[in-house]
Symmetry: C2
Subunit: 318 residues, 2 copies
C-alpha cells in the first residue's frame, strides 16, 4: 500500500504539495500537478478514505438504510438517489439491519436516507443527534436533524377514490394494511375524504397487513359474504392481487362482479388479467429529489421539502 509519502518521495517534493496537487489546488501550476498525478497513478496510489475522513471530518458519502433488499418498490428509488448523488460527487452506500446501525453511529456517512421500519423512532432520534441530516421516507418524525419526505398518500388516494365514485360505485369497501403505519393511515384518510365529500359511508372495512397472503385470507372471507361490496379499495397492490386471485379462482368476475384497486403499482399488477388499477410513483424521479434535498442539507442550504405526487393508473380492474 502506497501512501502520500511514497508519492512525495518519487516526485521529490513534500507531502503537502502532493496533497495540493491531487486536490486540484490552484496554487500548484498545472505542469507540476500533472507530473504528480502521473506519478501517483503509476505507483497505484489512492488516498485512504479513513485518513481523509478523519482529518476532514466528513466522508462525502451518503447512507441509504433499507429494510431488506426484496421490496418491490426500492430499485428505481435507489437508482434515482445514486444517479443524483454520483452526479454531485457523492458516494452512496446501501445497508440493512445491524449494518445500518453500525454505519450510522460510527458516522461512516455524512447524511442518510432511511426507509427501514426496523429502526425505531427512538433510536433514530438518538442516532440523529450525533449525526448529520437524516431523511426518513417511511414515517413522520420531527426532531433535530430529521427530515420527512413522503409520498402524498392522502392526495393520491383521494383522487383515485373520486375517480372511482365518478364511475358510479357506491358500495365501497376498504382493505387496510398494517393499521398504525403512516402509509395505511394517510391512504385511508384520503379515501375517507373523498367519500365524505359525496356523503357516502364506507360499506365495509377489512384488515390485512400489506402482504399477498393477507389478501388471500380477505378474499376467502369475502366469498362467504352474501352481500358483497361492488368495489374494494386496497391500501396496496399486494393485498389487492391476493384478493383478486382468490375471487377469480372462485368464479367472480372482475370488474363486473366487483371492482378493485391497489396502491404502489408493482410490476406484477400489469401482468394480471385484468390489469390492476393502482397508484404509481415515479421512484427514479423521487430518488433524485431526495438526493438533491439531502445534498442541500449537507451544504446547509435552504431546503423546501415537498411531498412526492402519486400518478393514478386506471386499468381494467374497476
Amino acid at each position: 500500500m502506497s501512501t502520500i509519502k511514497d508519492v512525495a518521495k518519487v516526485a521529490g517534493c513534500s507531502i503537502s504539495t502532493v496533497s495540493y496537487a491531487l486536490n486540484n489546488d490552484k496554487r500548484i501550476p498545472d505542469i507540476t500537478a500533472d507530473r504528480i498525478k502521473k506519478i501517483a497513478s503509476e505507483i497505484g496510489y489512492f488516498p485512504s478514505a479513513a485518513a481523509r475522513n478523519l482529518k476532514k471530518r466528513n466522508t462525502d458519502t451518503v447512507l441509504v438504510a433499507i429494510s431488506d433488499f426484496g421490496g418491490p418498490v426500492y430499485h428505481e428509488l435507489l437508482d434515482g438517489i445514486h444517479f443524483q448523488l454520483a452526479k454531485s460527487g457523492y458516494t452512496m452506500i446501501v445497508s440493512t439491519g445491524i449494518s445500518s446501525n453500525n454505519l450510522l453511529k460510527e458516522r461512516s456517512a455524512d447524511g442518510a436516507v432511511i426507509t427501514d421500519i426496523h429502526i425505531s423512532d427512538q433510536s433514530l432520534i438518538q442516532l440523529a443527534k450525533n449525526f448529520r441530516p437524516i431523511i426518513v421516507l417511511d414515517r413522520r418524525l420531527k426532531d433535530t436533524n430529521i427530515y420527512n419526505m413522503t409520498i402524498d398518500n392522502h392526495k393520491a388516494m383521494y383522487c383515485l377514490t373520486k375517480d372511482i365514485l365518478s364511475k358510479g360505485y357506491f358500495k365501497i369497501g376498504y382493505v387496510h394494511g398494517v393499521k398504525d403505519t403512516y402509509d395505511n393511515q394517510t391512504r385511508y384518510s384520503g379515501f375517507l375524504a373523498a367519500l365524505q365529500e359525496k356523503g357516502i359511508k364506507v360499506f365495509r372495512e377489512y384488515y390485512g397487513n400489506f402482504t399477498k397472503p393477507s389478501g388471500i385470507m380477505i378474499g376467502a372471507e369475502l366469498l362467504k359474504d352474501s352481500n358483497l361490496p361492488d368495489m374494494l379499495v386496497c391500501a396496496n397492490d399486494e393485498m389487492a392481487l391476493g384478493i383478486m386471485e382468490t375471487l377469480q379462482k372462485n368464479g367472480k368476475i372482475i370488474p363486473s362482479d366487483i371492482g378493485i384497486s391497489g396502491f404502489d403499482d408493482i410490476d406484477l399488477s400489469s401482468y394480471v388479467n385484468p390489469q390492476l388499477s393502482s397508484i404509481k410513483v415515479n421512484h427514479f424521479e423521487w430518488g433524485k429529489t431526495i438526493a438533491l434535498t439531502l445534498i442541500k442539507l449537507l451544504k446547509e442550504e435552504e431546503v423546501d421539502i415537498h411531498k412526492q405526487e402519486g400518478i393514478i393508473m386506471i386499468r381494467g380492474s374497476y
Copy 2:
C-alpha cells in the same frame, strides 16, 4: 460530537483505559469497565469509524458491488451475505456504479463481493492489488486477491437437458444470452454435453441478450418458421418468458406444440401459465457460503472454493 477524551474526562481516567474498557480488554476489571461503558452511553459516545479504521488499518466492513438494484436475482443473495456477515460481526455495505469504484480504491472495506459487469477485468485486477480479497460472482478471473465463486451452470444445464431428452424431445433449439458472457458460455456447454452424449445435434440456435424484449423478437422470428423445434432451451428465464408470451399470443400451445425451459427461476416464472421449467439457485444459502468464504479469506484461513449447485425445477412448460 463527543470523543474518547470526553469519556475519559468524565470518568476521571486516561483515554487508554476508556479504549481498553470499551473494547473489553480483560485487564480492566468489570466494575471499572461497566462504569466507563455507562458513562459513554450517557454522553452518547460512539467511536469514530474513521479514526479506528485509520489506526487499525481495517474496517470490519465488506463491500458488495452490484450492477444495479433492479436485478431479479439479487435480493436473497444480499440477504444471505448480510445474514452471515452480521453473525460474524462484520458490517455490510452495498454499492453500484461509480460509488463501488470509490469505495474500492479508497479501501473503505476489508474485502468485497463483486457482481457488476460494468467493472472491467482490467480495473478489477488493478483494484485488487491495493485491496484485500475480492470474490467475483459474474465472471472467471484469476489474479492476486481475486477469487471466483460461481453457480455450476454447466452441470445444472447438463442435468436439465438430460431430463428434457428423457422426455423424448429431439428437435431441440438453444436460445443464447449475451454471447461471450460466462453464464451463457457455461450454460451452453452443459447443454451441448448432454446432447453429444446422446449423439443428438442442436436443431437450431437463436441469439438474444438475456432480456425479455430479445425473447419477444426471437418469438416473432420463430413464428415465421414452418419447421419449428419441438423444444427450446433458453439461457435464462426472461428470454424464455418473452418467447412464450409471443408464441402463446399467436396460438401456439405450450408444451404440446413446443416445449420451453429457462434458467434462474425468477418469480414471474411461477406466475405464467404453464409455469416455466427452470433452474433455481438457493441464493440465500449461496450468499451465506460466499460470506463465510470471504470471512475466512479475511482471516487468512484456508479456503476451499466450490461452485453452487443449481436445483432443477420441472414444471409445465415442457
